[in-house]
């Protein structure tokens, strides 16, 4: 198993890592909800929220660089919001001429755009901190605690367990394809010239190769799930996902949770009262 790079968990000894996963889960969700509810252009609130998540990042010992670099992941989606600068009515800011097209940027549009980008950036940081500071089994417990159906949590757990196995299998399939030179257009053409494949080398041929791999992967997973099921049965599985009872939260945990929620509520009220 060499695909551990998939697992975002970074073990550290920090107060954030030590925090109960349930508290982290709820506070992360509350943070993202707060960010979402904060009015457009409430810059002071954005700065305060950024300060909050930044201090959590420093406390967690994950390294700000690590979190910020991962946070770039959501960036490409910004393109979808870009047109809003030019399409929202309001005070005209500047005009760009593109041939016969004239685009006029409005202040309101720019504010909306920058707000969307900031909101997305803040939210993704919170999600990264949670995923990087909490081992997956603890996240599963947190999900169970907030009332996500036990069966679904059980499936998430099994999916996580076999994710690495199947990603490994997918990587092996891809390596085998590369070894057979079934990957690039050039190789396919050579095959076609030598007459090994009648219409080989076209995009459709490459797609069929990839499709065959997908079908292969699916079939292996299907048969593997049969074996897993039988193995589970022989160990007494009866369709019920049994887990240890959750430990009750400590009073310090409750305090952290309440303080965090209160702080977020204050920030939200601040934003809504002054900018809403």
């Amino acid at each position: 198993m060499h695909v551990h790079f998939l697992d975002p968990y970074r073990p550290r000894t920090s107060p954030i890592h030590a925090l109960d996963a349930r508290i982290k889960f709820v506070l992360t969700a509350a943070f993202i909800l707060t960010v979402s509810l904060t009015p457009v252009a409430a810059w002071s609130v954005y700065i305060l929220l950024f300060a909050l998540i930044l201090s959590v990042e420093i406390l967690s010992g994950l390294g700000i660089g690590y979190v910020l670099k991962r946070a770039l992941l959501a960036l490409p989606f910004v393109l979808a919001a870009l047109p809003v600068i030019f399409t929202l009515k309001g005070t005209a800011l500047f005009t760009i001429s593109l041939g016969s097209w004239t685009l006029t940027a409005s202040l309101e549009g720019l504010e909306r755009f920058v707000s969307v980008v900031l909101k997305s950036w803040l939210s993704v940081q919170a999600a990264i901190v949670m995923a990087s500071s909490t081992p997956f089994p603890e996240l599963l417990q947190a999900m169970r605690a907030v009332g996500i159906p036990r069966l679904l949590v059980g499936m998430f757990g099994l999916m996580w367990r076999y994710l690495f196995v199947l990603v490994d299998e997918a990587l092996r399939l891809m390596r085998a394809r590369a070894a057979r030179s079934g990957q690039s257009a050039g190789a396919g053409k050579r095959l076609a010239l030598s007459g090994a494949e009648g219409s080989g080398g076209s995009v459709a041929w490459r797609a069929r190769v990839a499709g065959g791999m997908a079908g292969n992967l699916f079939l292996r997973a299907f048969e593997r799930s049969d074996r897993i099921y039988v193995a589970m049965l022989s160990r007494g599985y009866d369709g019920e996902v049994r887990t240890l009872p959750l430990v009750p939260l400590t009073s310090r945990g409750w305090l952290t949770l309440a303080a965090g929620l209160f702080l977020l509520l204050l920030l939200l009220l601040f934003g809504i009262l002054f900018w809403g």
Partner: protein, 316 residues
């Protein structure tokens, strides 16, 4: 590199809170129902089968093939899962995939997860099921129905899911409808071809290797009615929302008004048909909605009739 083969996972911040919460509720109800249905069909096999297949779909999304100049085709898997597992199990498998992508890999937001589940797990699967079974019935059990149905289901599921995504962004005021709908739709019409080709390739492999698997998807006569109702609901929702979203005064129209080429710049997809309004209703948005609903019902009626005729034939 592994993440987001298709730019369809909405991150947090791009949806208004109302849209995100409403879609969360819709998705939660649908997933809970699907969970019950699958539990009835599969019993205790449910957890291992669904969990491992979700992992397979996740890993399968890594498989790509080069198209041209650095771009590549990918698999999303909604159609493949629907064809092989039936609609309810496919909803559960895709729910697991999309949730883990959001939770662990920040591929799509947490508050936006409801919307992403709606687009990929619910809309994607419903469209796939609807298209695949319809073509299957037209083909009357001949093998081309599997492949043509597979391609059409894969292509259309990607395109319709992207349209739903664009509409959600438009309703949230993040992206103007008359830009985001054609742009998202256009990009995904190309991406969908890759999805369709891979799906056909996978189906061809499985058809040769394990033909018996194809009966799994068909053996859902009981769930049929509910899926059709749900599909109809989604189609009507889209029909209602698209005119509303574009009746919104912002968008290209403002630029167009300034330049005075309003009639050229107005080009969302559904306005391709001129006079697509209903006579006797003065409010254009309302008239378009009514026309949209009637059109949807008509399409479903025809599809149902075809399905009904085809179902009757083998028994007589």
């Amino acid at each position: 590199m592994l993440y987001s083969p298709v730019p369809m996972h909405i991150p947090d911040g791009f949806l208004s809170t109302l849209v995100a919460v409403v879609l969360w509720v819709v998705s939660a109800i649908a997933v809970a129902y699907a969970l019950r249905r699958v539990g009835k069909d599969l019993g205790e096999r449910q957890v291992p089968l669904m969990g491992v297949l979700a992992a397979a779909i996740f890993a399968g999304q890594m498989l790509n093939f080069s198209v041209t100049g650095g771009t590549s085709g990918h698999l999303v898997g909604a159609a493949l899962a629907t064809i092989l597992l039936g609609p309810w199990a496919a909803v559960i498998v895709l729910t697991s995939v999309v949730s883990i992508q959001a939770l662990i890999f920040q591929d799509g937001g947490l508050l936006a997860l409801g919307a992403n589940l709606f687009n990929m797990a619910l809309v994607g699967v419903t469209v796939s099921y609807f298209v695949y079974t319809s073509l299957q019935k037209l083909a009357r059990g001949r093998s081309w129905g599997i492949f043509a149905g597979g391609f059409a289901a894969a292509w259309l599921s990607v395109v319709v899911a992207s349209l739903a995504c664009a509409l959600e962004l438009a309703i949230s005021g993040t992206s103007p409808a008359n830009i985001s709908v054609p742009a998202m739709g256009g990009i995904h019409m190309l991406i969908g071809i890759g999805e369709g080709l891979i799906t056909v390739g996978a189906l061809a492999f499985l058809y040769a290797a394990r033909r018996d698997l194809f009966r799994v998807g068909e053996a859902t006569p009981k769930g049929g009615a509910a899926v059709w109702t749900f599909g109809l609901g989604i189609a009507i929702l889209l029909a209602v929302l698209s005119p509303l979203a574009s009746a919104h005064p912002d968008g290209l129209e403002w630029v167009a008004e300034q330049k005075g080429f309003l009639d050229i710049a107005r080009g969302p997809l559904y306005e391709i048909i001129p006079d697509y309004t209903f006579p006797g209703i003065s409010n254009t948005a309302l008239a378009t909605i009514v026309a949209g609903i009637l059109g949807t019902l008509l399409v479903f009626g025809v599809a149902l009739a075809v399905a009904f005729i085809r179902r009757k034939r083998p028994t007589t």
